[in-house]
């Protein structure tokens, strides 16, 4: 875009002139949560597997961090990102087959998909914490 031939051609209106709507928010949220999953999520997954391989002591160290206040915040954040990205991903599958583009339906599912993700993450942790690790 920046190298688009003659430099004095008008550019299309970009992000700053549009009013934020649910579809825009869920779109960038999908990218943000995906980036968290790909970095922090996979990192913690590898740490967990590596700790299991290393034995009980390393696993205890992992659990010590994971069950601390900061560990629980990070793990809940990652879990929320995973479920939000999954719910939003299912929304993308529906959009991919050409459905769900009606204004009303699109708005509803844009709002619902992150809420469904957060609800699933909360339910997951409720079971884990009530059971006691």
């Amino acid at each position: 875009m920046a190298q688009a031939g003659t430099s004095n051609r008008p550019l299309s209106p970009h992000l700053q002139i549009w009013k934020w709507g649910p579809a825009m928010a869920v779109s960038i949220l999908h990218r943000a949560t995906g980036t968290v999953n790909a970095t922090a999520g996979l990192g913690v997954l590898l740490w967990w597997l590596g700790a299991l391989v290393s034995g009980p002591d390393a696993y205890a160290t992992f659990v010590g961090h994971a069950t601390s206040w900061y560990g629980l915040i990070v793990l809940f954040g990652i879990t929320a990102c995973v479920f939000i990205h999954a719910a939003s991903g299912v929304r993308h599958f529906v959009l991919d087959i050409g459905a769900g583009f009606e204004l009303g339906a699109n708005k509803v599912w844009s709002l619902l998909s992150p809420l469904i993700g957060i609800a699933l993450a909360a339910a997951f942790w409720a079971v884990i914490l009530m059971r006691g690790a």
Partner: protein
């Protein structure tokens, strides 16, 4: 070619022929991720606790070991595709090339480490 507009330069070259490949792979791996992450989440919820003996015994069984190995392959593949788009959108020039090379190295090393851990857990030796 000249130095006209972008559309003028592209016109006549036809399609890139491989434009949908990346997009489709992102979807195929997304389906794999969905199945695998649901399996992992439900498995963790069904375990009586998440202590070392319980988890190491569970993950050493054939089906969980295979499922987590497939989870590693699918998620790292999907993450590599997604972060590639992220880099292409936000990083320019030589930094982009460096970032893509680093991305390939990190995702392959990460996935290999994960698979190695699963093999070690499933086949013993630890």
């Amino acid at each position: 070619m000249g130095n006209g507009t972008s559309i003028g330069r592209v016109r006549g070259l036809g399609s890139a022929k491989s434009g949908t490949h990346h997009w489709l792979l992102q979807r195929w791996t997304a389906i794999g991720n969905l199945v695998a992450i649901v399996y992992l989440a439900v498995s963790l919820l069904l375990l009586p606790n998440l202590g070392y003996p319980t988890v190491s015994e569970w993950i050493a069984k054939p089906v969980p070991a295979l499922a987590i190995a497939l989870l590693i392959v699918s998620t790292f593949w999907h993450a590599r595709l997604g972060l590639q788009v992220f880099i292409e959108d936000y990083v320019e020039g030589a930094n982009r090339l460096a970032a893509i090379i680093a991305l390939n190295l990190v995702t392959f090393v990460g996935a290999a480490f994960g698979l190695f851990c699963i093999v070690r857990l499933a086949l013993g030796g630890a």
